[in-house]
Amino acid sequence: MIAAAESKLNPENAAVTPANSDTSASESIERPPLTKKALVAEHPTWCPGCGDFAVLATYYKLIERRKVWHEKVATVAGIGCSSRFPYFVQAHGVHFIHGRALPFATGVSLSRPDLHVFVFGGDGDAFSIGGNHFTHTARKNVKLTYVVMDNQVYGLTKKQTSPTSPLGFKSKTDVWGAVDYPINPMKQAISAGATFVARTTHTNPGHVLEMMEAAMDHDGFSFIECLSECVEFYPGAFHDSNPRKGGRFNVVPAEHDVTDELAAYKLAGEPFPGHFGIFYQVKRPTKNALEAKVNQRLQSKVKGLSDLELMQQTFARLR
C-alpha cells in the first residue's frame, strides 16, 4: 500500500475539493447556497415505494450538505430503472448505453479533474452487461463514486433474473426458480481491487448518507452497493435487513479493520442480511494521479515549448 502523501502529489488531479475552492469570493456572495429545490429536476418515473427514492433523497441532501455547485457535478448512468437517476437531478447529466456508464465516466473523470463524477446504476448494468468494466475501473482506481442500487431483479424489463438474484428466485426467465449461483457484489469489488467498498440499504437513509459522504471523500474508485427494493417485481426481498419488518440491521463490527482485505472478504461472505458499512478502504494512487505524473515527467522534458513548437520539433526529426 502506498502512503497517502503519494496520492497527494498531484493536487490538480486529486479529489475535487468539495468546498468549491475554485469559486471566486464574489460569486459565493452573489450565489445563495444550493437548496434541495434547486437540485430537483423531473419527477421520478419510478413506481411508488421504490427503494431508489431513498437514494435520490439522500443525494439531494449530500450535495446540499457538501456545498458542491451543481455545474461541478456530472452524473452518469447506464440503462435500467435506477439509471434514470440523472434526469431527476439538476446537474450536467448523461444517460448512456446499457452497462457502459463506467468507461464513459472514466473519460469524464480523467479529462476533467475539476468535476465530481457520480455513476448511478443497477445490478444488471454493473454485474451482467457491464461486468468487465466494473473490474477494470476498480483495478485502475479511477476517481469517481459508483452507487449500485441492487434490487436483485431486472425491473425495467419487468422481472427477469438478474446476476444478483438469489438461487430459487422465481422470475419470468426462471419460472421454476433461479438456478445460477448469484454474484456477490462486495466480493467482486474487493477482488477487483476497488479501494472503497461499502454496503448500505435504502431503508436506512441516514446510513446511506453516511456511506455517500465517505465515498465522496475517498480519493479513488468508491463503490457502494445499496440494497434497493423493487416493490413491483421483488417485494420483500430485503425485509430481513429491515428492523421495521422484523429484520436486523447490523453495522460492520467496530473491531473490523477496513484495510484487511481477507477480513473484508469474509464479511462479504456472511449470509443475508450480513453487515452494513465500509467493508474495505485503502489508499492507492488513482489512475488520475498516475497519469498526471506521467504527464509531468514527459512535459518537464519539453518545458516552455508551445504545442506548435513541440510539433515542429517532432516533424524536424521526421525529415
Binding site: A91, G93, G107, H133, H136
Partner: protein
Amino acid sequence: MSVASTDAPAAKSAGAKSEVSDVVIRIAGNSQDGIQAMGAFLARLAGRSEQDVMTYMTIPSTISGGPSIFQVRIGTGEVVSSGDDADVLLAFYQHSYNEHIGALRKGGIVLYDSGHVTPNADWEQQYRHVAIPIAGLTVEAIGGTARDKGKNMYALGLVTKLFDLDVEKLRGLITEKFQAKDESVLSNAMDAFDSGYAYSLGHLLETFKFADSRRRGAKQVVMNGNEALAYGLVAAGVRFGAGYPITPWSDIMELLRRELPKYGGTFVQCEDEIASIAMALGASYAGRVAVTGSSGPGLSLKTEALGWGIMAEVPLVVVDVQRGGPSTGLPTNVEQSDLNIACFGGHGDSPRIVIAPANVEECFHMAIEAVNLARQYSVPVILLTDQAIATRIEAFPEPDLKSLVQDIAPDMSPVPEHKPYDLESPNGAARHRPPGTRILSGKYPIVTGLEHDEFGHPTASPALHAQMSAKRRRKLQVLSEALPVPPVYGGEDASVLLVGWGSTLGPIQEAVDRARAAGESVSAIHLRHLHPLPAGLGELFNRFPNIRVIEMNDEGVYGYGQLAGLLRARFCTVKIRGINKTDGLAFKVRDIVERIRGELADSLRKL
C-alpha cells in the same frame, strides 16, 4: 526501372554507370531480419534527398518470424504507387527467392545470399543473378555469433553501392536510429553497412545513379500512414484517446500514448473495444473531441455506442484501419470491406460522417478535417484508412504546422439558459455545453440516447422523433451541399470514368496514364467523402457513359462492390459497375488496365 536518358541501352557492360529516375526494390526475407528497418532507411533517405518514395510491405500474422517483404519505390518524379514489378530483388533465403522472383521484371537484378539460396537454372536465363554470401560476409564484418543480426545493414550497404546513394546521409540516418542504444549496436550496424558498401559489385554488373530530382528544394517529411494520422489528430487539438490493441490500428494507439502526455493529454488502453469508445465519448462530452479507433472487428463492437454518439450528438473521431474480413479474416492484409459498416453500421437511422484519405499525406490532413467536421456537426466521424496506407512509408511536403496546429479547449463561460437540441439549428447540429458550465436558469441538460426534446428530456412523442430524426439527417444534407466535387484525373470526358476511394489512388491514376498513353479514353475521380457524398457528383457522372468503381472488396451478389452499391443507390444508374479484388493485396496497375480492356473493349473510344 525507368532509365532517364532514352538512348541508354537497357543493359550495360560491367562497371558502367547508368542514370535512372524510378526504381523498385523488393527486399524478401523473414520478418525478424530487420528488412522493414532496411526499407525504412531507404525511404527516409529518399525523403531527405528530395526524391519521392512509396513503400509496400507484407508481414506474417505469426507472433515471431515468417516470410515478409518490404518493397521500396524511389523516384525523382512523382511516385503514386509502390510499383507493379520490381527492378531489384534482394533474396535472403531460398523461399524468398522462389516466392518473389515472379515479382521481378524480366531482365531485373536478383541479389541473393549465396549461403542460403541455390539459383534455378531457367531463371538464371531470365534474370540477372548476383551471388553474394550476405550472411557470411556480415559475420566476417562484425564478428560474434549473432549470425543473422546486421545482414540487413550489410544489404543496405550493397544497395547503396548499386545505386550510388548518398553514403553520408545514410550514415547520419543510421546514427540517429541507433545512437540511443548500446554503443556496440551502432558500431555493429555501421561496420556491417560499410562492409556491404565496400563489397565490389563493379566486377559483377553495372551500377546506377539517380537523375536529379524534379522536387529539389521541397522540405519533406517521411512517415507511414498510421504515424501521419496520429500526428494529424494531435495537430487538430485532440488530447484524449482510448483504444484496444488490434492490427493494424495499434501503432496509432501506441504513438498517441507516447505523444499525448507531452501535450497535457492522455491515451488509455481499455479493457475492450466497447470501453474504448465509451471512454472517448466521455472525454468528448467533457468538452474536447476525443478519438477511438480499431480495425473491422473492433468497429463492429463499437457500433452500439456509436449510435449513442449520433443520437446524443456528441462529436467523436473513430478511426478504422481496415483489414481483410469478415471475423478475424486477414489481419495483416488489405481490404476495403468496412465501407458499409462505416456508413450504415448500427441500429436505427444513424447518420454519421465517413471520410477516407487516399495516401499518407492525406492521413495527416484528413485527421484534422475529421476533428473539425465532428465539432462543426456535433457528430461522430469515421476516418476510414486501410492496412496498405497504414504501413506504407511516403515522403511528402512538410505540412504548414503554423496554420494547422489548433487549440480546441472547451469554453465553459456561464450561459443564461441552455437548449442543446435546438430544432432550428441551421446545420442541424446540437450545441452542447460541457460539464462545469454554469447555467444561470438552473436547468441543466441531460445528454441522452433516448429520443428527446430540445432540452434533452426523454420523449416518446411521434412528432418529435420525426423532427429530431430530420434534424440529425439535415447535418449530412448540409455537408453534402458544401462538399466540392473531386477533380477529374485524365480528361473531362471519356468513355469510362474510374471511381476510387482510399489507398487505390496510385494504381488508378497510373492505370489512367497507361491507358491514355495507349490512346484509350479513360479518366478517374477519387472520393474522399464517402458519406455523405458530394452533392454535385450526379452531374459529373452524367458526362460519362461507363463508370467503374475500383475497390478491394467482393463484387457481391449483384456484381458490384460496396462503394458501387452506394453510388447505384444514390444515382440510380446501371452504368455503374465494379472492378473488385479480394486477394488481400493492393491493386496493380495492370489489374485495372486489363479489366477495363477486357470488359469495355467495344466502347473504349480512342483519344
